[in-house]
C-alpha cells in the first residue's frame, strides 16, 4: 500500500502564499520576513523538503543583509550566505550520487541545470577563500530564481512542470571501442595484458553511462528519494529506475553492430546448439559478465528486451528485402536470448526462474495471435521451442499450446457450457481459499470507563452530544458549549 507523505502545510495554497510572499517583489522585506517565520514554523512541524530548507537559509541571509546596520561585521553575513549556498548545492547533488563511485559535483549539477559558476562558488566557499559579498548576493539571487523555476512552480502547478530531461550521451562510441579492443585481443592473445587497462576503462565508462541514465530517470520522474517508511517501496523504486537505465543500455546493445554482427556473413550460427556465432560470444562475454556482476538483474532485463524486440508488431510498410535481412538478425537475437537464459541458470543463486518467465512471455504473446503476422514471428517461435526442450513441464505446456493454436475456438455457446461453468464456480467456492479474518470481538471496548464529567478545569470530553463528528487530524470542528 502506498503511503502518503507528511507535508507541513494543510493545502498547497499555503505553499503558494509563501511563494508569493517571497517572489512577488524583489525588494519586499516584510514579505520575506513573513515567509521566514512561516517556513520556520513548518520546520517545527515536520522535516522540510530540501528545497524549502535551502530557501529558508538563503532568505534568512537576505533578510539579515537588508536589515542590519551597515557598521556591523560583514563576515558573518558572508558566512551566512556561503553556508546557505553550500548546503543548497550539496543537498541537491547528494541524493543523485547513485553509482558505486562518486561522480563529480559539476557533472551532476549540469544534469540538474544548476549554473556551473554556482558550483565553483560552492567549491571556493568550502575549500578556498570565502567569496566576496557582491558575488554571494548575486549567487543568492540566482539560486532563488532556480528554486522558483525548479521547485516552487512545479510543486504548485504540477501539470505545467517543464520537462527537464537532458538527453543521454550516446553509448555507441563506447561500444565500438570495446569491440575494437576485444577484436584485437581475440585475434592475438598476447595482447591481452597489454590492453587490459583499456578494456577496464571502457567497462567503467559503460558503468558511468548507466549511472547517468539513472540520474536522468530520477529527474524524469522527479522522484529523488521516497520518504515513506515502506522499505519494500524503496527497493522497488530503485529497481524501476535502474531497470530503465539498463533497458536503455540493452537497446544500445541490441542495435545492429552490437550483439548482432553488422555483416550478414558473420552471422553464421553453429549448427549443433542454439547459440550465437562463436566470434560474437568471444567478443561480448566479458562485458556481459561484468555487467551482470554489477547489476544482478541485468540478464533478466536483456532477455526481456530481446523478447520484446522479437515480438514487436511488424510495420506493414516495410519492404520484403528488409524482412529478409531482419530474419537472420532476429535469429541471432533469439540465440543470444537463449545464451542469456543459460548463463542465468549457470549462476545458481537466483530465485527468479528466468527460463520460465521468458517462456511464459513468449507463450502469452504467440499463443493467442491468430492473424497473419504470426508467421513473422518465426524467430520467436524457434526461441520458444529451444527454451522448452529438455524440460518436461515446459514441453508439455508447449504441446498444449500448439494443439490449441490449431483448433478454431468455438464461436457459439452450447448449453453444456453453462453446466461446466457452474461446476467450476462451485469448485472455487468450496475450496477454502480465503482464510477467515478474525474479526475483532464485538464486545465494545469502551475507551472511557470513567464518567466524562470527572475531568477537571479546562478539560472537557467531547462526544456526540456536543456536536463533534469524526474529521481528519488537523481539522477543527467547532462544537456547542
Amino acid at each position: 500500500m502506498k503511503l502518503p507523505r507528511r507535508v507541513p502545510w494543510t493545502s498547497i495554497s499555503e505553499l503558494e502564499q509563501v511563494c508569493s510572499w517571497i517572489y512577488a517583489e524583489e525588494n519586499d522585506i516584510d514579505g520575506k520576513i513573513l515567509a521566514v517565520n512561516r517556513i520556520s514554523a513548518w520546520r517545527a512541524i515536520t522535516h522540510l523538503p530540501h528545497a524549502l530548507e535551502s530557501t529558508l537559509s538563503i532568505l534568512v541571509a537576505i533578510v539579515q543583509d537588508n536589515l542590519q546596520p551597515a557598521s556591523s561585521s560583514q563576515l558573518a553575513l558572508r558566512q551566512s550566505y556561503s553556508t546557505a549556498i553550500i548546503r543548497l548545492v550539496n543537498g541537491l547533488v547528494d541524493p543523485l550520487q547513485l553509482g558505486a563511485y562518486a561522480r563529480s559535483i559539476s557533472s551532476i549539477a549540469q544534469q540538474l541545470g544548476l549554473p556551473s559558476w554556482l558550483v565553483e562558488l560552492r567549491h571556493a566557499a568550502t575549500h578556498e577563500d570565502l567569496p566576496s559579498l557582491d558575488l554571494l548576493r548575486e549567487a543568492a539571487r540566482v539560486s532563488m530564481v532556480w528554486l522558483l523555476n525548479n521547485y516552487f512552480l512545479p510543486a504548485i502547478n504540477p501539470s505545467t512542470a517543464p520537462e527537464v530531461v537532458t538527453p543521454l550521451r550516446p553509448l555507441e562510441p563506447t561500444l565500438k571501442q570495446y569491440k575494437h579492443l576485444l577484436k584485437m585481443t581475440a585475434r592475438d592473445a598476447s595482447l591481452r595484458t597489454h590492453y587490459a587497462p583499456a578494456i577496464l576503462s571502457v567497462m567503467k565508462d559503460v558503468e558511468r553511462w548507466i549511472t547517468e541514465a539513472r540520474v536522468a530517470a530520477n529527474m524524469a520522474t522527479r522522484d529523488l528519494w521516497e520518504t515513506t517508511s515502506e522499505t519494500l517501496l524503496d527497493s522497488v523504486e530503485m529497481d524501476a529506475k535502474e531497470r530503465w537505465a539498463l533497458e536503455r543500455l540493452c537497446d544500445a546493445l541490441l542495435e545492429k553492430g552490437g550483439l548482432v554482427p553488422l555483416s550478414k556473413k558473420k552471422r553464421d550460427f553453429p549448427a549443433d546448439s542454439f547459440t550465437p556465432p562463436k566470434f560474437s560470444i568471444l567478443l561480448w562475454t566479458s562485458l556481459l559478465h561484468h555487467l551482470q556482476s554489477l547489476h544482478s538483474e541485468f540478464y533478466a532485463v536483456l532477455a526481456g528486451r530481446i523478447v520484446l524486440t522479437l515480438l514487436a508488431e511488424r510495420d506493414a510498410k516495410e519492404s520484403q528485402v528488409e524482412v529478409q535481412l531482419d530474419s537472420s538478425y532476429e535469429l541471432c537475437l533469439a540465440r543470444w536470448a537463449f545464451w542469456v537464459v543459460e548463463a542465468w541458470e549457470a549462476d545458481d543463486s537466483h530465485d527468479f526462474d528466468l527460463r520460465k518467465e521468458v517462456t511464459v512471455l513468449l507463450m502469452q504473446s504467440l499463443g493467442h495471435v491468430m492473424n497473419a503476422s504470426h508467421r513473422d514471428k518465426k524467430s520467436a517461435t524457434i526461441l520458444l521451442e529451444s527454451l522448452c526442450t529438455g524440460l518436461p513441464q515446459l514441453d508439455s505446456a508447449l504441446s498444449v499450446l500448439k494443439v490449441l493454436s490449431n483448433n478454431t475456438p468455438p464461436t457459439k455457446w452450447i448449453p453444456e457450457d453453462i453446466e461446466i461453468m457452474d461446476q467450476r464456480l462451485n469448485a472455487l467456492l468450496s475450496s477454502d481459499l480465503v482464510p477467515d479474518i478474525s474479526t475483532p470481538r464485538s464486545e465494545s471496548l469502551t475507551r472511557r470507563t470513567e464518567p466524562a464529567s470527572d475531568v477537571t478545569q479546562g478539560w472537557r470530553l467531547l462526544d456526540e452530544s456536543s456536536g463533534w463528528r469524526p474529521c481528519p487530524i488537523g481539522v477543527y470542528r467547532s462544537t456547542i458549549e
Binding site: A44, A51, S229, T231
Partner: protein
C-alpha cells in the same frame, strides 16, 4: 584491501555457498558457536574481472533437482552435536534448519559497507540502517546451532492435550476462569505457539523464553507475534504442583505426581490484533503467514493461538518447496549460553543489597530482549523490579521520546508494543535520539536516578500480600535495570559513559564481544568495582530486514494511543502509590484516531506554558504557534508550581514564549503523550486525544512539543480505502527538484579507492 570489483565477485561467490564466514573482515556481530562443518569452501575469487579471458562460460547443465539449494550440505551437518534430532524425525530438522540463511532481501545488495557515522544511530528513517557489509557473509545469518525444531510437542487429545471447560477450570481457583486447554509436557519437550494466550503452570516447571517458571495460580499473559522471536515453552523436571491440582478431572489424574509438566493455556482477547489493521506493516502478525498456513494446526482449539510445528501429514509434502519456507519468517527465541551464565551469576549474587544492572551494546544486538529476560529472572527473587529506559527510540513501556522509570511486578512476555505502561516517573525529551539535546537528556536521567535512590530503592510502603505458592520474594529492596541506547559511537558513547558514571552499576552487561571498551582512563580511582559481563549479541535474523526500527517506533506510538489504561482510583496521598497497576490490558482498535472523541482543552484555563524543544524550534514566532501545534504530538508535563519561568502572558492563545527553556527535569515530570488533533481558529481551544486516565490530566499543565510526529498510519482511516485529501498529507510523488527530504549516502567511494 580488496578492490571493489573483486569484492563484489567474492561476495557473489560467497553468496552462492554461504558457508564459513570469511575472517578477513571482522563484522560487528559474531554469531553463536560457529559450525565446524568441513564444508568445501569456495576460494575467494581474487581474479579481477578485467583479466577475465574470453573463454566461453561454463555450461553447468545442472538439472534442477528439487530443490537445488546451495546450503544443502551433505550429512556432515546433521552429524554435529549441536543439531538436536528428536525421536527419529530428522526430516523436520532438515526442512526447518535454514531458510534463515537467506533472509528475504527486500533490498538489493549494495556493494559497499556504509561508513558508520556515529549519528547513524539517531537516524529517524531507518532505511539506511541495515548495514550490508562488503562480504555479505556476515549479513547472512548463520545456521543456528541450537535446536531448530520449533515444537516437538505433538498434541494428541486425551493423551497429552485435554480441553477443560469453565467448571473444571474454576475448580482450580486460578486467576482466570475461562475455559482452556491443558497440555502435558515431558521433560525437554518444546512447544512453540504463535499468537496471544495466557498460561498457568499447574505442575512441574517450564522454561519460557529464558525464565524458569514454577507452579502458581498466576496467569501470565503472552504476546507472540511473528515480528519478534517466538518464545518456546520447554518442559523441565520438577516435582512441584499447585494446591488444587487434585481438582482436575479424573482423566488427567494419571499425569499428576509424575515428572510431567502441566500447563493450562487460555485464550487472550485484547484487541491487539487490531493494531495490525491500523499499521499495515504489521498486518496479521499474530496469525501465521500464508507460507505456514498449511503447517500450523489448530489442534489446541484456542482461538488466537497457533501451534507452530510440522504436522504428521507434512512429511509427504517434503518435496514441495513451500514447506521448506515455513520458517522463512519465524524466528524462535534462543537463549545463548553467555546470557544464561550472566543472568545466573547476577541473580544468585548477594541479594540483600539492591543491585543496579546496566545493559549496553550496539543496535540490533538484543539489548531489549536481554533486558526483558533479566527482569523476568530478577522477578523470581524480588517482588518488584525497577526499569530505567534510556532508549528514546525503542522504549520498552512508553511510546518513545521520553526517558522513564517503570516498576515491574509481573513477568513481561512480548515485544514492547504489547505492554504499554504508565511510568512511575518520566521526562519528555521529544525526539527519538538525544542528538539535539544531550544536556537535557543527561539531566533527565540524573533526575530519574535520584528518584530511584530516594523513593524506590528501599520502598517506603510494601505491597499487599499476594497469596500464591511461590517462594518468598524480597519486598524490601527493588533492583534497577538500565537499558541504554544503541548508539555506541561518537556522542552516543560519551552519553553512555556518563550514564554509567551516574548510575554506578553493580553489574554491567555488554552485548558485543568484539566491541573494544574505551581506554580505562576515565575510571576514577576508588570507583566501586562492578561485575562486567560480556555477552554474545543475537545473530542477525530475517526479522531485522523485514521490520525496521522506524516501523517499530510507529507501532509503539500507535499502540500507546489505542491502549486502554486502567483507570486508577485517585489515591488519597498526593503521590502515586508504587505498586498500582498501570499497564494497558486492552486496546481500542475499532476506531481510527480521527474518529475518537477528543478532549476540548481551553488554553486559558488549563495550560501554564507551551514549550518547543529541538533544533530550530527557537525560530518559531508566537503568531505561528497555533500552526505548529496543529496535529502535533506533545508531552504532558507537570511542573512544581513556581519553578517554571513563564514569559509575558499572551492575550489569547496558547501561552508560548519564543525560545523558552525546556522544563528542568529536577522539578518536573512527564505523565504521558498526547496528540493535539485540532486548534481552534482563535487558538483558544485545543482538541486533544490522549489515552491517559483522568487523574493524570489534572496535573499536567505544560505542553512540550519536540520532534516526534504522529506516524502517517495514525492519520489515515483504515476503514476506508482510497486517497482522500487530508491536510498535512500529500499523496503521490513530489514535484520539483529538491522536493524530497535530504538523504545522505554514507557508503560512497571515490575513484582513488580502488
Amino acid at each position: 584491501m580488496l578492490s571493489a570489483i573483486a569484492a563484489r565477485k567474492a561476495a557473489q561467490a560467497a553468496l552462492r555457498d554461504a558457508t564459513v564466514p570469511m575472517d578477513s573482515q571482522p563484522g560487528p556481530t559474531t554469531s553463536a558457536p560457529v559450525l565446524e562443518a568441513p564444508t568445501p569452501k569456495k576460494p575467494t575469487s581474487k581474479r579481477k574481472s578485467s583479466t577475465q579471458t574470453s573463454k566461453p562460460p561454463k555450461r553447468k547443465k545442472e538439472k534442477p533437482k528439487a530443490p537445488p539449494r546451495y546450503f544443502d550440505e551433505p550429512d556432515s551437518f546433521q552429524d554435529q552435536d549441536d543439531v538436536i534430532v528428536i525421536d527419529s524425525d530428522s526430516d523436520e530438522v532438515d526442512e526447518q534448519e535454514d531458510f534463515r540463511e537467506q533472509p528475504p532481501m527486500k533490498r538489493r545488495w549494495s556493494p559497499s559497507l556504509p561508513l558508520n557515522d556515529s549519528s547513524d544511530e539517531g537516524d529517524m528513517d531507518a532505511d539506511l540502517d541495515v548495514s550490508f557489509s562488503v562480504l555479505p557473509t556476515t549479513a547472512v545469518p548463520k545456521v543456528p546451532t541450537t535446536t531448530e525444531v520449533l515444537s516437538t510437542f505433538h498434541p494428541s487429545p486425551n493423551q497429552n492435550t485435554f480441553f477443560l471447560d469453565v467448571a473444571e477450570v474454576s475448580a482450580l481457583q486460578l486467576e482466570s476462569n475461562a475455559p482452556g486447554t491443558l497440555i502435558a509436557l515431558h521433560s525437554e519437550e518444546t512447544i512453540c505457539l504463535l499468537g496471544t494466550y495466557t498460561f498457568t503452570v499447574l505442575q512441574g516447571s517450564i522454561n519460557h523464553s529464558g525464565v524458569l517458571l514454577s507452579p502458581s495460580r498466576r496467569c501470565h499473559r503472552v504476546f507472540a507475534p511473528r515480528s519478534s522471536p517466538l518464545p518456546l515453552i520447554e518442559g523441565q523436571d520438577s516435582a512441584r504442583a499447585i494446591q488444587n491440582i487434585r481438582n482436575l478431572p479424573q482423566s488427567i489424574h494419571p499425569l499428576i505426581a509424575r515428572p510431567i509438566t502441566l500447563v493450562l493455556l487460555q485464550e487472550l482477547h485484547s484487541g491487539v490484533e487490531g493494531l495490525g489493521r491500523i499499521c499495515r506493516t504489521f498486518d496479521g502478525v499474530f496469525a501465521p503467514s500464508r507460507w505456514q498456513r498449511s503447517t500450523v494446526s489448530d489442534e489446541l482449539q484456542l482461538s488466537g493461538v497457533h501451534l507452530v510445528c510440522p504436522c504428521q501429514e507434512s512429511k509427504s509434502l517434503l518435496t514441495v518447496p513451500q514447506i521448506q519456507s515455513q520458517t522463512r519468517d519465524i524466528q524462535p527465541f534462543e537463549l545463548s549460553p553467555s546470557w544464561s551464565r550472566a543472568i545466573a551469576s547476577s541473580t544468585t549474587a548477594d541479594l540483600t543489597q539492591a543491585s543496579v544492572h546496566l545493559i549496553k551494546g550496539p543496535k540490533n544486538s538484543g539489548k531489549s530482549s536481554f533486558a526483558r529476560t533479566l527482569v523476568n529472572n530478577l522477578l523470581k527473587k524480588y517482588h518488584t523490579v525497577a526499569y530505567l529506559d534510556c532508549d528514546l527510540g525503542q522504549s520498552e513501556f512508553t511510546p518513545g521520546g521520553m526517558v522513564s522509570l517503570n516498576l515491574v511486578s509481573r513477568p513481561i512476555f512480548g515485544p514492547p508494543f504489547t505492554h504499554p505502561t504508565l511510568p512511575h516517573a518520566a521526562h519528555y525529551i521529544g525526539a527519538a535520539t538525544p542528538r539535539a539535546t544531550p544536556a537535557l537528556y543527561l539531566a533527565a536521567i540524573q533526575a530519574l536516578l535520584e528518584t530511584y535512590r530516594l523513593d524506590i530503592q528501599v520502598p517506603a510502603d510494601l505491597p499487599e500480600e499476594e497469596d500464591d505458592e511461590e517462594e518468598e520474594r524480597i519486598v524490601d529492596a527493588i533492583p534497577l535495570v538500565i537499558n541504554t541506547m544503541g548508539w555506541t559511537k561518537g556522542l552516543g558513547a560519551d552519553l553512555t559513559r556518563s550514564i554509567q558514571e551516574m548510575a554506578a552499576p553493580s553489574d554491567v552487561y555488554e552485548l558485543d564481544a568484539t566491541y573494544a571498551p574505551p581506554p580505562p582512563t576515565h575510571a576514577a580511582p576508588g570507583a566501586p568495582a562492578h561485575r562486567q559481563h560480556l555477552l554474545q549479541p543475537i545473530p542477525p535474523s530475517v526479522l531485522a530486514t523485514a521490520y525496521t526500527a522506524a516501523d517499530y517506533r510507529a507501532l509503539n506510538m500507535l499502540s500507546y494511543f489505542h491502549a486502554v489504561f486502567p483507570p486508577s482510583a485517585p489515591s488519597t496521598s498526593s503521590s502515586l502509590s508504587l505498586f498500582q497497576d498501570s499497564q494497558a490490558r486492552t486496546w481500542q482498535t475499532t476506531l481510527p484516531l480521527r474518529a475518537v472523541p477528543p478532549y476540548a482543552v481551553s488554553t486559558a484555563q488549563a495550560l501554564d506554558a507551551v514549550i518547543l524543544v529541538g533544533a530550530g524550534s527557537e525560530d518559531v514566532v508566537p503568531e505561528e504557534i497555533g500552526r505548529v501545534l496543529n496535529g502535533a504530538i506533545v508531552g504532558l508535563v507537570e511542573c512544581i508550581p513556581g519553578t517554571l519561568d513563564v514569559g509575558p502572558k499572551r492575550e489569547q492563545g496558547p501561552p508560548y514564549t519564543q525560545a523558552a527553556a525546556p522544563p528542568p527535569p529536577t522539578s518536573s515530570g512527564c505523565v504521558g503523550v498526547a496528540l493535539v488533533r485540532a486548534v481552534s481558529p482563535q487558538e483558544t481551544e485545543l482538541h486533544v486525544i490522549t489515552p491517559l486516565p483522568h487523574h493524570l490530566l489534572t496535573r499536567s499543565r505544560v505542553l512540550v512539543k519536540g520532534e516526534l510526529e504522529l506516524p502517517v498510519w495514525g492519520m489515515l482511516d483504515f476503514r476506508e480505502v482510497g486517497e482522500e485529501q487530508v491536510p498535512y498529507l500529500q499523496w503521490g510523488k513530489s514535484e520539483g527538484l529538491g522536493g524530497q527530504r535530504r538523504r545522505v549516502r554514507r557508503n560512497l567511494m571515490r575513484k582513488g579507492q580502488m
